[in-house]
Subunit: 382 residues, 4 copies
């Protein structure tokens, strides 16, 4: 039996914990694959790895046991009680495959050392379980915007800088990406952090013929935006303003409401809108930390548009979702699709996976329907 | 110069008046073609008739002059003051091409006589202005559901019944469709009324090689539904219920809140949802007459869905639009596309125009993005 | 120690089960009295019975054990897991004080017999626990509208008719009210059913000097309406229309979406609005059964109003609540207030409790703020 | 006939123009007093000046003629066409009573000089029209937060500093307040600017026995908040978070979205919420400039609260209003009430007018219903 690995950077976070608990539940056939795109009939013949063929490990700087994390998610309404009861022992088993993550604040030595250690962890995981390949997916917290440095331009310059002890030339997400590629693993960025998006790193991926995908999973407000915006374009209705507010609790709320971290998220959210509408529009966007909402995310969007004879009209929507429940199945989908792409010899940015992302690499297409059609067509050819 | 006719059944209604005023304003270049799909760059090479090449006439049982109707629409916010001022004389000119409509309650004689008179009106309009072809578009009030009769099955049986004086074998929308085809004109049904959708009438269209399209213009809530619903399907999210409420004033509110008339509208609105979602869902739907809203229509939809591990989430939207402002440009679009199709020798149901309708003939596709792609592709081949 | 009884008609329903579980949890000090009006500091000196002093029993035609009902409410998110665990044994104890309810379909004999049996059940409950008084609260399902009969006019005529075997002269809610008063107990109607609101029954209450209150607990949409409507009045803003839609699941959704049952509910909801606004307005109102919502109730209201110079504006709100969680604490409040009123010698309709009801007896005041002030003042004088 | 003056600081702004146009229309009996609190039957016997008895003048640094401003407001939907036509000549007449306003950037000399000139303008207006008294109302743009200075503490220190040429010791709103009181006129602050709220100025008002009121007119989101918040308190429901977003265009949007100016507005909006709810809650609040909305203001509030057994619920509302249409009648109301108060010998802060303000002086009451009751009672005693 073929067997693949899913290596999660941020393996003890909400998204990761939900994905792992869900994978275990899917394997036990105690839940339906709701929210799993890769389980749609359109992908039946694509030769994707089955739920039984995926083994999970990962890195995290946190040390809370997975079952404790899962309990919190149960209290928050993300994981049902009966699922928790069923997967508890499975979670402990996965715990054994989680290694300490990298963070500059707690690391001494060079970033080259750090990357080597991370790559070794992945390699050992692969050997230990006799895996055919391992897909690395970053689901850790959004980083503050990292400054652009000249060393990011070429692989040579980057590696020279990484070798200097105590020098922080890359944010953690990029160290993770570097380590993944050095370990021969496809890398997927589910966050808006820098990750692989540096010339030096894409150069490395190209050289090693490694596929990668990202970035920033499209789970809520942006999902609806990329669905609705094409409607205005197709109907020749002029969007005059598109205003948005996001209320979220959890650790994510705290991280993203912080101006510094929000930078990358808001940029990622905003980029698509102008592309979708064909022009810049007034588009104020806020992310507020509202702790009492827990894992829930509420987003309100107000779209003002004009139609025939310039008449003003509007549509507004309120989205009420659980980010982890929306993200987790996509993480499993991405592991399946990316693994199959790797097996099929694909390399470089996987534009066809743009369907999953707010800020897709390898494509300029942001319209959801077109993205889905592209995904189906691409998967059919794997 | 080529010249085509747009013959409106219900030529003094809100939609028709807005379409006529708008056409005149477009011809004068005092407004941009906002809301006009056919003016998108995608259709530039399709050889559609220009605004200058379209002449308008029609039938109506009402006798209010068009400029009086336009004044009311100005008060309601649908037609800007400056547009009214500019097109007032043009409206009076079109008034001269409007003839008395048919209604069983005020007609003596057979429906065959009535149809002949309607067809003659269209023919004279065409000759008077030296038109290459005339497209008939039904924009009159929604009719009550008309009972199915055996005479509807074949053209022969239908025409025999129509010849009987005093017998009402067809609703007015179907008499109009019959008259249009007998006059050699393509027929478009912008309402949910029966129109051409009877075996006897589609048989006639086929024999005469006439194209037709319909039915029930997709202008508001259903437009959003046909955009959003595919998102759930593509993301493997299970829609558990999709509840809707429509508040509308104007004559439309009065007509549609009436249970008998609402029948055809609600059926038309509901049919698509199950197709879009791939299965039946709980989908209560109401239309309420709220006179103070005037020409405005407010729709609220609440969608409850489940995702990963069965977790419940929701999205709700409020649509606030002017139905006439949304419908009018589509009426002009349909005249242009249908005219071009007729010129290109197309006959029978024009499934590619399904993009414009809640309950499209000639296609089962309800997803907006796919409908738009089909329209672009079809128009490219005209 | 003084000790009072709370006798619930419909003791195994969602509202009753939540109220009982909550009372047990309050008694155990494992929850705060959130949602309990009577626990506000304003009522501290009113001498209301404490949580420890209330004992619960009741009637129900259903036979499911209370802990089974509570489990379902836990799955629906109304009762937290930890509360269920803590009160499970207490629920079983209360189960022992629930007797079979009355329903004409399963009863042979006269309604007089039925009422006598019900009154005896209450009396035995009272004696068994040595209670000072028992308050009867109807929380059973909303009944279909019961026809008005001449026998309802006087107590004499009513009792004569009730004595006829097989004759159904009263709906079950009124039989319950009759039995309560005959047992010397105050009666509170938390539903829109007929209950005590018949001349013959209020005559009986007056003769027996029994206080009563009702009807139809104000728990969601109407609560917001009675809060918002006075704002328009105080600001001289003219409400032009107030449209509402209620989506609810559970047994309540099924019962209330049924036209026959909805009659009394919609009438009860509508009555207040005209009073609050000072005039009749267009106010379409729907109740839809949406089973997937479970115990949740979603209500959307759209208010269109005009201000200075006739300018049109609007406000809309979406309420998302759990009816049982909103109703249950009010049931406990009503038991406390009504018991104290009885102890203080009050008789007849308790208008000061109008704060709790959509369709209050004994008062025409529907404005929430004024109702609260009246309640505080009344309680201060007990 | 008694005759009073209404002197508007910012007399050419949207609120002022709407108020003046409306007053003229009310005087001509071509509109109903919709939105005018003082026209409610509750105030009939309070001896308020009639519409015919109010004459308007004011200060403004802008020079656009009032009828030009009114035309823009007509295009924006705030003033109906027919009203504009009827009041056009009246507007020009009022134009003759508007004088150049004070702004430090364009003023040379001392603030004492500036204040003297402003007071003289008001005095001449009063003499010219033989007015019994003049009420000064500040409706100019919201100022940036002005730093607190030691000179603000006493009148003596303040006047010494004002006498220094070129020194800016007061923001314009406070210069206007000072001038008003020196002219013997009651002062009302309809904005959140500093105005009279400095110890030195309230000392002056006290010495001169002048009444004053403010601040920051309660016209939209806060109006709804002060209505809804008491509902949660009265029902013992714990508000966990109350998040708000305001979208507005016009000059106001530009001014208020600017962080510096927003400071005073957001503080003013926020102060009330904690008081209303009895405790601090998470309450993120944004004001966004969305120019295409013109005079319209859209506000969305999301309230998360918990009820019985800690169950989480929510209510959200969307307010869609025209700020000028909401503010203008209140300005007229305030002129009438304040004038009557002055006539009745009231001095100091008019807490009973708190009903009109987000951040009321002279009272801690923020609950709308209680504020209205207080206003009615106070007016009854005038």
């Amino acid at each position: 039996m073929v067997s693949i690995g899913l290596w999660l950077v941020g393996a003890r976070g909400s998204v990761a914990t939900t994905a792992i608990a869900g994978l275990l539940a899917l394997r036990d056939r105690i839940v339906q694959p709701e929210g799993c795109v890769s389980a749609l009939p359109q992908f039946e013949g694509s030769g994707l790895p089955t739920w039984d063929e995926i083994r999970v490990g990962g890195h995290d700087i946190a040390e809370t046991a997975l079952d404790k994390r899962a309990e919190l998610l149960t209290d928050s309404g993300v994981i049902p009680h009966r699922v928790l009861d069923a997967v508890r022992s499975g979670l402990s088993e996965v715990d054994g495959d989680i290694r300490g993550g990298y963070h500059p604040a707690t690391h001494s030595g060079s970033q080259a050392d750090a990357a080597r250690r991370l790559a070794d962890d992945i390699g050992e995981f692969s050997s230990r379980h006799g895996l055919d390949r391992v897909v690395v997916v970053n689901v850790s917290s959004t980083e503050p915007v990292f400054p652009s440095l000249p060393e990011h331009r070429t692989l040579e310059a980057l590696e020279a800088a990484m070798a200097v002890p105590g020098r922080t030339v890359l944010p953690p997400s990029s160290v993770a990406a570097y380590a993944a590629i050095r370990a021969g693993c496809p890398f997927v960025d589910f966050t808006p952090s820098t990750g692989i998006r540096l010339p030096a790193l894409t150069e490395l991926a190209r050289r090693q013929a490694i596929p990668y995908a990202g970035s920033d999973g499209k789970t809520g407000e942006t999902l609806v935006r990329s669905t609705l915006a094409p409607m205005f374009a197709a109907r020749a209705l002029s969007v005059r303003s598109w205003s948005g507010t996001n209320l979220l609790g959890g650790g994510d709320g705290l991280t993203l409401a912080d101006a510094e971290h929000a930078g990358s998220k808001l940029a990622s959210k905003g980029r698509g809108l102008a592309t979708l509408l064909g022009s810049e529009v007034t588009a104020p966007l806020h992310i507020d930390n509202v702790p009492d909402l827990g894992e829930q995310k509420i987003a309100w969007d107000h779209v003002s548009f004009s139609g025939f004879l310039g008449v003003r009209m509007s549509v507004q929507f309120t989205w009420s979702g659980y980010d982890s429940a929306l993200a987790a199945p996509l993480v499993l989908d991405l592991a399946r699709f990316t693994s199959a792409a790797h097996a099929a010899g694909k390399a470089g940015p996987l534009g066809a996976l743009g369907f999953f992302f707010k800020d897709p690499v390898g494509t300029d297409e942001h319209r959801l329907a077109e993205q889905f059609a592209a995904l189906v067509s691409w998967a059919g050819e794997l």
